[in-house]
C-alpha cells in the first residue's frame, strides 16, 4: 500500500532499514507469498511507526501472520529499555491476553465416534458464548478482585481444576497486578463475564492429532497421533477492553500522543501511570487466565457424562496480546527489557526458567490455532527465536480478506455445509458471524507455519485437525 522500502535478506527474512524518525530497523519473517499479502495493507507502515517510540531497542519483529491492526500491526513484537522506554496499550491490544489453551485427553476419535455432534451440543449449552450471554458464576466484588489478583490460581483454589493446570500456563496463570488500578467501569463489565467464551474469532474446538512431526518432543508434550485434543481461544472480554480504553485516555491526557498515530499513545515504563497500566494489564491477563481455567473445568465436567474414565490435562496455555518483563540479549549483553507482543506467541527455547520443568529441556509448546475448519499446529520454542525474534513467533493464520467483503461474499450456509462435508460439526451463536471467520478470510496457515519452521523461530511438532467447532 504505502511505499516502504523492504529488503529481502533470505527466503524467510526481510528488513526495513532505519529512516526518518525510526530509532531501530524492522525485521519481518515472511515468504514471498506472505510478503505480497502483508504489502496489501498498512502492516509495514504500522511496524515502522512502532520503531519510532522512545526507548525501543534492537529492532521491531513482524511475525509471518502479520496484518494491519490499530497503532501497532497484529503480529508485531517490540522491546523497550526499562529506563528510557514506554509502554503502549495500543501495542498490546484491546483484548488483553487474548490467548490459547490446549487440552489433551485420553480419548481417540473412535471413542467419540457418532456421539460427536451430541457432545458438541452439550458443550455449547454448558459454556456460555456469544454477545450478551453472561457468566454462570455469581461473583461478588471481592471475588472479582481475587480473580484479578490471582488469575487461574484463584479458580483452582475454588475447586475448579488442578495445580497442574496453572503450572502449564504462562506466568503460572497469574501476573502481578493490583485490582485497585482497574476502574469500576472495567470491573462492572467483567463481573458477569467470567467463564464465557465471547464471540468473534474466539472458539472452542475438538481436534484430533493428525500428524506428529517430531515424536521426541510430542512425547514430552504428551501428544500422540489419533489422540483427541481440545483447544480454547478466548481473552479478557469487556474487562480487558475497558482497561485498554481507560489507560489510553489517561495517557493521552498526561502525555498527548505521537503524531504518526494517536493509537500509539504511551507512558514511560518508569512513570506512575506506566506502572499502573502494567498492573491493570496484569489484572486483565489474570481474568483471561481464570476464564480459560473455568472453561477447562466445565469441559471436564461435561465430558465426564460421556466418558467415566476421561482424563483431561492442560498441555499449555499461551498469551497472544501481552507485555512482559523478560531477559534478552541486546548488543550481546543480557538485559531485562519490556517485551510487547500483539498477536504473537512467546517461543522460548530450552532451559528458560519461565518454562514448566517437564518441558524445560525441549522448549515451550507454541500453540497456533488455524482458522475455523483448518488445522492448528503445536510448535516448540527455540533458542534461535530468542536470538532473532525476542523469543516470538506467529499466533494464527492472519487475516487477509476485508471483513466487509467477507461478510457479503461468503455465505454462512455454505460455510456450514462445507465444514460438515469435511466431517467438522459446528455450533455457533451467530451464523452470520461465522461467514467472517471462514477460512477464505485468512492467510494460509500452512504457509505461516512453514515460515516459522524455516526461520527456526518455532519448530513443527504436531498438526491438529478440527472435528467439531463451537463459536460465539
Amino acid at each position: 500500500m504505502e511505499n516502504i522500502d523492504v529488503k529481502k535478506i533470505n527466503n524467510v527474512t526481510w528488513k526495513i532499514e532505519k529512516s526518518g524518525k525510526m530509532r531501530v530497523p524492522v525485521i519481518i519473517f515472511a515468504s514471498d507469498i506472505l510478503m505480497k499479502k502483508i504489502k496489501q495493507d498498512r502492516t509495514l507502515l504500522q511496524a515502522s511507526n512502532m520503531a519510532t517510540l522512545p526507548g525501543v531497542v534492537k529492532n521491531i519483529v513482524v511475525c509471518p501472520d502479520a496484518h494491519e491492526g490499530y497503532g501497532a500491526c497484529i503480529g508485531g513484537v517490540s522491546a523497550f529499555d526499562l529506563d528510557e522506554g514506554v509502554v503502549s496499550p495500543g501495542e498490546i491490544g484491546y483484548d488483553i491476553n487474548c490467548s490459547v489453551r490446549l487440552l489433551r485427553t485420553n480419548l481417540t476419535l473412535n471413542d467419540i465416534g457418532k456421539r460427536k455432534k451430541e457432545i458438541l451440543h452439550s458443550l455449547f449449552r454448558t459454556i456460555p458464548s456469544g454477545v450478551g450471554r453472561g457468566s454462570k458464576m455469581n461473583l461478588t466484588k471481592k471475588d472479582l478482585d481475587d480473580v484479578l489478583r490471582e488469575g487461574a490460581q484463584w479458580v483452582v483454589k475454588k475447586g475448579y481444576g488442578f495445580k497442574d493446570d496453572y503450572i502449564h500456563t504462562e506466568e503460572l496463570g497469574r501476573m502481578n497486578g493490583n485490582p485497585d488500578n482497574v476502574s469500576q467501569k472495567a470491573k462492572s463489565r467483567g463481573i458477569g463475564q467470567l467463564g464465557t467464551l465471547g464471540a468473534g474469532n474466539h472458539f472452542l474446538e475438538i481436534q484430533v492429532v493428525e500428524k506428529i512431526f517430531n515424536s521426541e518432543i510430542a512425547k514430552v508434550f504428551g501428544l500422540s497421533e489419533g489422540q483427541v485434543t481440545i483447544m480454547i481461544h478466548c481473552g479478557s472480554r469487556g474487562l480487558g477492553h475497558q482497561v485498554a480504553s481507560d489507560y489510553i485516555r489517561l495517557m493521552e491526557k498526561k502525555y498527548r500522543w505521537p503524531e504518526q498515530d494517536r493509537e500509539l499513545v504511551n507512558a514511560p515504563i518508569k512513570s506512575e501511570l506506566g506502572k499502573k497500566y502494567l498492573s491493570a494489564m496484569a489484572c486483565a491477563a489474570n481474568f483471561a487466565f481464570a476464564n480459560k481455567q473455568l472453561i477447562t473445568h466445565w469441559v471436564r465436567e461435561d465430558l465426564k457424562h460421556y466418558f467415566k474414565d476421561i482424563k483431561i490435562d492442560v498441555v499449555y496455555d499461551v498469551c497472544h496480546n501481552i507485555a512482559k518483563f523478560e531477559k534478552h540479549f541486546i548488543d550481546s549483553k543480557e538485559k531485562e527489557v519490556l517485551i510487547m507482543r500483539k498477536g504473537a506467541t512467546r517461543s522460548f527455547g530450552p532451559n528458560r526458567e519461565e518454562i514448566p520443568e517437564d518441558y524445560r529441556n525441549v522448549g515451550q509448546p507454541v500453540l497456533i490455532p488455524g482458522t475455523m475448519g483448518t488445522s492448528s499446529y503445536v510448535l516448540v520454542g527455540t533458542s534461535k527465536a530468542e536470538e532473532i525474534s525476542f523469543g516470538s513467533t506467529a499466533h494464527g493464520a492472519g487475516r487477509v480478506e476485508s471483513r466487509t467483503r467477507a461478510r457479503k461474499e461468503i455465505r454462512a450456509e455454505n460455510v456450514k455445509s462445507d465444514l460438515e462435508k469435511r466431517g467438522i460439526d459446528i455450533e455457533a451463536g451467530s451464523f452470520k458471524g461465522i461467514a467472517e471467520e471462514a477460512p477464505e478470510a485468512y492467510k494460509d496457515i500452512e504457509e505461516v507455519i512453514k515460515v516459522s519452521h524455516e526461520a527456526k523461530i518455532g519448530k513443527l511438532v504436531a498438526k491438529l485437525r478440527p472435528v467439531a467447532v463451537m463459536k460465539g
Partner: protein, 146 residues
C-alpha cells in the same frame, strides 16, 4: 445516507454523515448498532448517556464506547437516540487553554436476548478516526476492533 461501511483487513471501518455534529454522532452510533445486530430493535427501555472529553475525537470514542458498556453490563442494545446535545466550552488554566466538550443523550433500546446478534464489537479505536466538516456537512470515520 446515514452511514456506510468501508473495506478493512481485520476490523470494521465505517463513515457516518450528518448536517450537524449531533447528527453525525447519532449516525455513528447507528452504524455501530448495525454491526452488532441488523434486527429492528424495539425502544422499550430508556437510558441517559453523558460523556465529557477534551476534543471531538475522544468525545466520539467515549460516546460509542458507552454502547459497548451498556451491552456488557445490562445487555442493553440501541434502538433510537433522542435529544442528543453537545456543548463545548474552553477555560484557561496555568496559561493553557483547555477545551471541554460534553454530550448528553437519551437512548432507547431493548434487552439483547430478544435479538439475533451478529458481532461482538470489542472496542472503539482511534485508528484512522476523523471528524470533519465538508461543504456544510459533517462526516466522521471510525474503525472498531471486532
Amino acid at each position: 445516507m446515514k452511514f456506510k461501511f468501508l473495506p478493512h483487513t481485520a476490523d470494521i471501518k465505517f463513515q457516518a454523515f450528518g448536517n450537524s455534529l449531533e447528527e453525525v454522532f447519532e449516525n455513528a452510533a447507528y452504524a455501530l448498532a448495525n454491526i452488532i445486530s441488523r434486527d429492528k430493535i424495539k425502544p422499550k427501555e430508556k437510558k441517559i448517556i453523558k460523556v465529557r472529553a477534551r476534543d471531538s475525537e475522544s468525545l466520539l470514542y467515549d460516546f460509542l464506547e458507552e454502547f459497548l458498556y451498556l451491552i456488557d453490563v445490562g445487555g442493553f442494545i440501541l434502538s433510537e437516540i433522542k435529544n442528543l446535545k453537545i456543548t463545548s466550552s474552553s477555560s484557561v488554566k496555568n496559561n493553557k487553554t483547555l477545551y471541554n466538550s460534553e454530550l448528553i443523550a437519551e437512548v432507547l433500546g431493548d434487552s439483547i436476548e430478544n435479538y439475533n446478534i451478529e458481532k461482538d464489537v470489542k472496542a472503539i479505536t482511534y485508528n484512522d478516526m476523523f471528524i470533519k466538516k465538508e461543504k456544510e456537512k459533517f462526516i466522521c470515520q471510525v474503525v472498531v476492533d471486532v
